[in-house]
Amino acid sequence: MAQGTEPHMQIVAFCCRYCAYAAADLAGVLRLTYPPEIRIVQIPCTGRLDTLEVLHTLEHGADAVMVAGCLEGDCHFQRGNIEARTRVKRIKKLITEIGIEPERVEMFNMSSAMGRQFAEAAQEFTQRITALGPSPLNAERREKTEIIEM
């Protein structure tokens, strides 16, 4: 990929197979655009979202993590999204302790029919992260890279 087109931020979105991933798919079918910073990873249910996986994602270069699941009460697996909500809260607390803004991890809820809402949520989230700038972890890493290059 050419250097000039490299997206500035890197955001990983964990989407549940039944709702959010389908919503993202629908956004595509509706020809709605969402920011190129978003990288979607499919998981069966947001209940599968492992705290450590989110932390690893942030550790290795993501500026933010978006978690998107079904509407509350509509989870295909009954309450996976409720579990995820609790976990996202916990992750926010954990990253605050090491100096990362809690706003970098957010949970979204949408149904599989909400393609438009997915695109909107992705756009708003990307704007929020762009305003925040790169993750503190990344700033350090980028500096290092520059020094080596010189």
Partner: protein, 468 residues
């Protein structure tokens, strides 16, 4: 480019998934002995499968017992004739076991292998084994205090009017039973969209109201029938009933939420209804002999309890929720559990019956084969990492993991979690909750999810745990 890299990273770590073969118990459990339940039971029995039909009340029939009149020009048989035929076919069929005055107290298992406990009213419990479950618990007519219902013997519901028309007798449901002589009635006012129907359209009430309005007109053409409505919705071809009613002289007056009809009793005990007609913006006062409220169908009392027992979802109004409106309309997301009839949402009799037949046919796809493949993308416990902390047992929405005392966990201690492959739904909630990372969801292993993420940042995924 990233997307390709991500997909490749995942593909590299994929592995074949294996399914297990489990025998199928080739019998069915049908919950609800109304028209849908009876039809589902009959359809299954006719195809050769033993059926347990469970009914809460002491007779079969459900709401069909209070339906007397067919919809003119549409129904081929009268409801009572259908009730008689179905009941006879059910009781005569040796493959159908009827459990009257019985409810489901517990159910466990998975498609092809369910075990349920039936509890009779007298406390007697029976355990049955079955391969599929069909939920056909129906609904009931709403009985709220809207528009003065229950405060005056001449304020009825549509089904009470139907009973009255059928028997012209006393109505046991009223607090103060009163012999209503049809001959004495000069004016009847029907009010549509009562109570919960202000939130959702209950589908059947407009058609029922028109059916009864036409019956009244047929019995005594001089009766003035006025229908106060917000929006007449006679689904499908029932629109013809509306046309017929207009031709017979039924008067339709529209109201809106800001101008609901006011029902009141004067000092001389006369029923009065004040209506604001929207076109003329003028208030009318009627003194009808009979006020008939089009009470909508609401879910049966037991729906939410049953939903919890079967672990299937209901929507915000309490109706059972199918897996997919268009692609899987007669089944639940959990395999082997099907739904039919009004338990799903209000339906006309013919629709309920067709859905019952559809549900039975879908159920046969499981019952017809002596064995079934199960598993695939499911969670697996590595007993050598399991400390037996019960976290998975607690978080699983389907209560599937259990501690197997025959297996050694961490440190050679007896007792490690075990997840039955044929029941696991594959949501992965236990995977994320497991503090020892002893559980892996096949097809969504930690390696498979993380390597995908890491490939975005061009970082190599390193397995940093002891095992995996």
């Amino acid at each position: 480019m990233d997307l390709v890299r991500m997909a490749t990273a995942r593909v590299v770590s994929l592995e074949p998934l294996y399914k297990e073969t489990v025998p199928v118990r080739q019998s069915a459990l049908v919950i609800g002995g109304g028209p849908a339940g009876m039809m589902a039971a009959r359809t299954l029995a006719e195809q050769g499968f033993p059926v347990h039909l469970v009914e809460r009340q002491d007779t079969l029939g459900g709401s069909l017992r209070n339906t007397y009149f067919a919809i003119p020009d549409f129904d081929t048989t009268t409801p009572q004739q259908l009730l008689g035929d179905l009941t006879a076919q059910i009781t005569e069929n040796p493959r159908i076991t009827c459990h009257l005055q019985t409810e489901i107290s517990r159910t466990s298992g998975f498609a092809g292998n369910f075990t349920s406990t039936l509890r009779k009213n007298n406390g007697e419990k029976t355990e049955i084994e079955h391969g599929v479950t069909i939920v056909a618990t129906g609904g009931q007519e709403y009985r709220g205090a809207e528009y003065g219902y229950g405060s005056h013997p001449r304020i009825l519901t549509q089904s009470e009017l139907e009973t009255l028309l059928a028997a012209n007798a006393k109505l046991p449901t009223l607090a103060d039973p009163l012999e209503i002589d049809l001959e004495s009635i000069k004016q009847t006012i029907m009010i549509q969209c009562v109570g919960p129907a202000e939130q959702y359209c209950a589908r059947t009430c407009c058609t029922t109201a028109l059916k009864n309005a036409l019956l009244l007109k047929e019995r005594k053409p001089e009766i003035q029938v006025i229908v106060l409505y917000k929006d007449i919705r006679t689904y499908g071809f029932y629109e013809r009933l509306y046309k017929a009613a207009r031709e017979k002289g039924v008067i339709f007056l529209r109201y809106d939420d800001a101008h609901r009809p006011q029902v009141q009793l004067t000092e001389e005990e006369i029923l009065q209804i004040k209506v604001t007609e929207l076109t003329f913006q003028k208030q009318f006062t009627f003194e009808p002999d009979l006020v008939v409220l089009s009470m909508p169908l609401v879910p049966s009392d037991g729906n939410r309890t049953l939903a919890t027992t079967l672990k299937v979802p209901v929507d915000q109004d309490g109706w059972f929720l199918e897996a997919h409106v268009k692609l899987r309309p007669v089944e639940f997301a959990s395999d082997g559990i099907f739904l039919a009839g009004v338990a799903h949402y209000p339906k006309m009799l013919d629709e309920a019956i067709v859905q019952a037949q559809a549900a039975a046919s879908r159920a046969v796809t499981i019952l017809a084969s002596p064995e079934r493949k199960a598993g695939g993308a499911i969670a697996q416990v590595d007993p050598e990492l399991c400390v037996g902390c019960l976290t998975c047992v607690r978080v699983c929405p389907f209560e599937i993991p259990r501690i197997n005392t025959q297996v050694q966990g961490v440190g050679g201690l007896w007792g490690a979690a075990y997840i039955e492959p044929s029941v696991c739904q594959g949501c992965g909630t236990c995977v994320a909750a497991c503090p020892a990372e002893a559980i892996e969801l096949l097809h969504y292993r930690h390696a498979q999810v993380e390597s995908q993420v890491f490939s975005v940042f061009e970082v190599e995924w390193i397995d940093r745990t002891r095992k995996r």
